[in-house]
C-alpha cells in the first residue's frame, strides 16, 4: 500500500455516535471549568495567540517568530535582500546578551558558535539554503561569560509566493539540561556494560571460587559469625608423572569438585590448590559439621571413576571460627590445611582441630616450614618465553618459581608465596631465586633477556641489592640482559626505600619492571616515582580481551600512557591469536602466555627430597600439645 493510499484510508474514519456523546459530555465540563475560572478571576488566554492563523497580513517570518515566542523559543531572522540579521529578545537571553546593547551582525552570531561546531553549522545552513529544506540540530554556543550552552534549533528557509528563497529563520531554545541528561544517559549505558557484573573469581574448570576469592569469603564470615571451615585434600590414589600433561590432574579436580558440591551446596566452595578444596560452613558447630565432612570424604573415597582413572584419596581438616576470637582468614586456612595433613599422617579420614595453635606458635612453625623448604631447595625454576611483538620473535624469558610438592612435582607457588609474605619470610625465597636463577643463566649461553621476580616486601631489605650485585658478579651474568620484576602481591611499604633499590638496580645496569600492573597494590603514581622500564599488564585485563570493549579501553589507554612515559609494556596471559592482534595494534612491546610458549624447566635444583611435607609444622609439636 502506498503512503497516499494509507492516508486516504485513514481519513475515512468517521466519528462514532459514542464519540458524539463524549463531545457533549466534554462540552458540559468545559462550561463548568470556564465558569469556575471566570469567578476565580484566573487568566484564561495568557499564552494564546488570538489572531486568525489565516490572516494574510503577516509575512512568513513574522508568523513563525510569533509562534516561536508563544512557545518561549528564541528566533533569529536573516533577510536575503537586505543581508541583515535580527534576533528576538528571547534569543538574546539564550546568548547571554542584554537585549538593547546587543550588536546584531552575522559575524557576532558566528563568533558565538563554539569553534568545534562552526564548520558543521555553516555546512548545514548552506545545505538547507540550497535544498530549500528545513534542518534541525543541536548547536553548541559560547556565551559572553565563557560558559557553553547547547541550543536545539530548527532552521527554516523563508520563501515568497513564487517559491523563491527570501531568507532564513532559526528558532530554538536552550537545551543544555536535556543535552546533558542525554549525555549522561549514554554514559550510564556504556558504564553498565563496561562494569564487571560479578566480582567473584571462579575457576573455569571446576566452577569453584579461586583461592583469593575464597579467602575473601572466609574473611567476611570470620567477622560476622561462627561456623566451621573444612579443607579437603583429594589427590588421585595413584599418581602418574604425566598427570599434568595428560590432563588427568584437571579431570580429577573437576570430578572431586562435583562430588563436593553435591554435598555442600550452597555453601561457598573454593579451589585452594591442586587437589585441595575448601568448604565454608557458616553457623555450624563441630557436632553438625563433622558428620557432614565425614560423608563428603567417604563419598570422595568411594566414587569409582571410569576409564582407568582409578579413584581418589581424600583427607579432611575441620576448624572452627568465631567472630569473638579474631583470626586472619589466611591463618584459618592454614590451620585447616595443617589439620588435613595431620589426618593423613594418622591415616584417618578427618581431623578436627579443636584447639587452634596460638598465633605466634603458628607463625613460627610456618616460618620454619618455609625456611626448611628454602634450605632444602625444594623449588624448581622455569622459564617462560616473551615474544617481542615488533620483531615477532622470542627475545625474553621470565624466570618462574615452582614449589615441589611432597612427591617432587612442581606446583604453582601462589599459595606458598602468599604465606611467605604473610609471615615475612619472602626475602629468603627471593634470595634463593636470585641466586639460583643467576647461576643457571651464567651457565647458559645468555642469548635471551631474563626477567626475575622479586616481592615488593623484600625491597625494604638493603641486603637484597648487595645480594643481587654479588650474584651478578659471581656468575658472570650480563646485567644489561636482566630485568627485576617487582610483584604486586604485597604493597611496597616505603617508597623512598623502594626508590633506592630501584636506582641501585638500574646503576647495576639491570632494568626494572612492575608485575601484574593494574590489579594489586601499585598506584599509578609509581610510574612517575619509580624508574620503571617495563610494565606488565595483569592477565585479568588480557584474558577475554577480544570480547570485551571495556578491557580493550583499559589496555589501550595503559599502553598509550606508558609509551609517553618511555615505559615498555608486556601483556601476560595471551591465549589466542585474536588477542595477539589487538595487542600488536595497541603497540604492546611483549606478549607472554600459553599461546606464545609454555614455561620450560630451566634446570632441576640440586637435589630432591621426597619425604617431608611442604610447610608442614612438625607433627610432633602438635601431638605434644594435644597430649598436654
Amino acid at each position: 500500500m502506498t503512503f497516499d493510499e494509507l492516508i486516504e484510508l485513514a481519513a475515512q474514519d468517521v466519528p462514532t455516535p459514542l464519540e458524539h456523546a463524549r463531545a457533549r459530555r466534554a462540552m458540559r465540563r468545559i462550561d463548568e471549568d470556564h465558569e469556575r475560572r471566570l469567578s476565580a478571576g484566573a487568566e484564561i488566554f495568557s499564552d494564546v495567540d488570538l489572531r486568525d492563523p489565516l490572516n494574510a497580513d503577516f509575512t512568513e517570518a513574522k508568523r513563525i517568530r510569533r509562534a516561536a515566542e508563544l512557545r518561549k523559543r528564541g528566533a533569529v531572522v536573516w533577510d536575503a535582500d537586505t543581508r541583515r540579521i535580527d534576533w528576538s529578545d528571547e534569543m538574546s537571553r539564550i546568548f547571554g546578551l542584554a537585549p538593547v546593547e546587543a550588536h546584531k551582525s552575522l559575524t557576532s552570531l558566528y563568533a558565538m558558535i563554539h569553534p568545534t561546531h562552526r564548520t558543521a553549522v555553516s555546512r548545514r545552513v548552506r545545505g538547507a539554503w540550497r535544498g530549500q529544506s528545513a534542518a534541525e540540530f543541536v548547536c553548541r554556543i559560547v556565551v559572553r561569560d565563557g560558559s557553553t550552552r547547547y541550543v536545539e534549533v530548527l532552521l527554516e528557509i523563508l520563501t515568497d509566493r513564487l517559491g523563491r528563497s527570501t531568507g532564513i529563520i532559526v528558532t530554538g531554545h536552550d537545551a543544555t539540561a536535556t543535552h546533558k541528561r542525554l549525555q549522561d544517559d549514554k554514559r550510564r549505558e556504556i558504564r553498565a556494560s563496561s562494569v564487571q557484573q560479578d566480582l567473584a573469581e571462579v575457576d573455569g574448570a571446576t566452577g569453584l571460587l579461586s583461592r583469593r576469592a575464597f579467602a575473601d569469603e572466609v574473611g567476611r564470615a570470620l567477622q560476622t559469625g561462627t561456623g566451621t571451615l573444612l579443607v579437603i585434600s583429594a589427590p588421585p590414589y595413584i599418581r602418574l608423572s604425566s598427570d599434568t600433561e595428560t590432563g588427568r590432574d584437571e579431570w580429577f579436580g573437576t570430578a572431586a569438585a562435583k562430588v563436593i558440591r553435591d554435598f555442600v551446596d550452597p555453601d561457598p566452595c573454593g579451589l585452594l590448590g591442586p587437589h585441595e578444596f575448601g568448604v565454608l560452613m557458616p553457623y555450624t558447630t563441630f557436632e553438625t559439621a563433622a558428620p557432614k565432612a565425614d560423608r563428603v570424604i567417604a563419598s570422595l573415597r568411594e566414587t569409582r571413576f571410569m576409564a582407568g582413572c582409578g579413584r581418589l584419596d581424600a583427607f579432611g581438616g575441620l576448624v572452627h571460627y568465631d567472630y569473638r576470637f579474631p583470626t586472619a582468614s589466611i591463618e584459618l586456612l592454614l590451620d585447616a590445611e595443617t589439620a588435613w595433613r595431620r589426618a593423613k599422617h594418622e591415616d584417618r579420614a578427618l581431623h578436627v582441630l579443636r584447639q587452634p595453635p596460638p598465633a605466634d606458635e603458628r607463625r613460627e612453625t610456618c616460618r620454619a616450614g618455609i625456611r626448611n623448604t628454602v634450605k632444602n631447595g625444594r623449588f624448581a625454576l622455569y622459564a617462560q618465553p616473551l615474544r617481542d611483538l615488533e620483531l615477532n620473535r622470542i627475545t625474553r624469558h621470565e624466570i618462574l618459581l615452582r614449589v615441589l610438592d611432597d612427591v617432587g612435582r612442581p606446583t604453582p607457588p601462589t599459595a606458598f608465596l602468599d604465606l611467605a609474605e604473610h609471615v615475612d619470610e619472602i626475602l629468603a625465597v627471593d634470595k634463593w631465586v636470585i641466586n639460583q636463577a643467576l647461576r643457571l643463566i651464567g651457565q647458559s649461553p645468555q642469548t635471551s633477556h631474563y626477567q626475575i621476580n622479586v616481592s615488593g616486601r623484600s625491597l625494604a631489605d638493603p641486603l637484597l641489592l648487595h645480594h643481587l650485585r654479588d650474584a651478578v658478579a659471581r656468575y658472570g651474568v650480563d646485567p644489561e640482559h636482566l630485568t627485576i620484576e617487582i610483584t604486586e602481591t604485597a604493597a611496597i611499604g616505603n617508597l623512598s626505600v623502594a626508590r633506592r633499590f630501584a636506582d641501585g638496580v638500574r646503576q647495576l645496569g639491570c632494568q626494572l619492571a612492575l608485575d601484574d600492573f593494574g590489579t594489586g597494590n601499585t598506584p599509578l603514581g609509581f610510574l612517575t616515582k619509580l624508574p620503571v622500564d617495563l610494565v606488565k599488564i595483569d592477565g585479568s585485563f588480557i584474558h577475554g580481551l577480544p570480547a570485551s570493549e571495556a578491557l580493550q579501553a583499559v589496555v589501550e589507554g595503559l599502553v598509550q600512557m606508558c609509551r609517553k612515559l618511555g615505559i615498555l609494556t608486556a601483556a601476560e596471559y595471551v591465549q589466542d591469536e585474536a588477542t595477539l592482534d589487538l595487542l600488536r595494534a595497541y603497540g604492546v612491546d611483549f606478549a607472554q602466555g600459553f599461546h606464545i610458549g609454555e614455561p620450560d624447566q630451566l634446570a632441576t635444583s640440586r637435589r630432591r627430597t621426597t619425604s617431608v611435607e611442604l610447610n608442614l609444622p612438625p607433627a610432633t609439636t602438635l601431638e605434644q600439645r594435644d597430649a598436654g
Binding site: D13, D33, H34, L38, G41, D49, L54, S133, L158
Partner: protein, 182 residues
Amino acid sequence: MTAVQAFQPDDENEYRRAELRASLDRFVRENYSRVLKFLLRQCFDRHLAEDALHEALIVTMNKWESVSQHEKPLYWVRRTAWHKLLTLHDRQKWDDTVPLEFIPAELAEPTSSQEAEMTLQHVLSQLPLQQRAVLALMVEGETDEQIAMQLGLAVTTVRTYKSEVRKKYRSLSRTDDEGGPA
C-alpha cells in the same frame, strides 16, 4: 469585573449570547472528535490530549465572539490546542511511548480505516513531534500552506517534513516486509 457582569441582561444581548452559544455548541459537536484525534495522533495519551483540548476550548468559549468571525475557526482552535499540548509537553516531558495495543503485531495491508489508523499510529510513533503534526494534518487533507499557517512553520519546512515522513514510511514498510514471512 468579569465579562458576564459587564453585560446588562437586556433582550438583545440575551439573544445574541444565546445565538453565539448555539453556534459554539454546534462547532464543538462537529469538531471535538476531529481535533481530539489530531492531538491523539501526536501524544498517544488520551488524558493529556483531552486536557490540552479542554484548555483550548475554555479559551475558545471565552473568545468565541471573535473566533467565530474567523474564516476557519477550526484552524484557530486546532492551533491553540496544539500549542497547549506542546506546552504540556515542554512542562512535563511526557512519556513518548506508544501503548502496546496501538502497535500492530504485523504490518499487514490495512483493509479498513481502523486498520489504517493502526498503521498510521505506528508510523507516527517513529516520528519527531513536529513531523507528527504535519502528518496528522496531511491526513485531514490540508495543503502545505494551510499546514504551515496552523503549525507556525515555513512552507518549505512543511515540504521537508512531508518528504521525511514519506521516507520513514518507506523504510518502515520495507523492514516489515523483510521481517515477515516471504
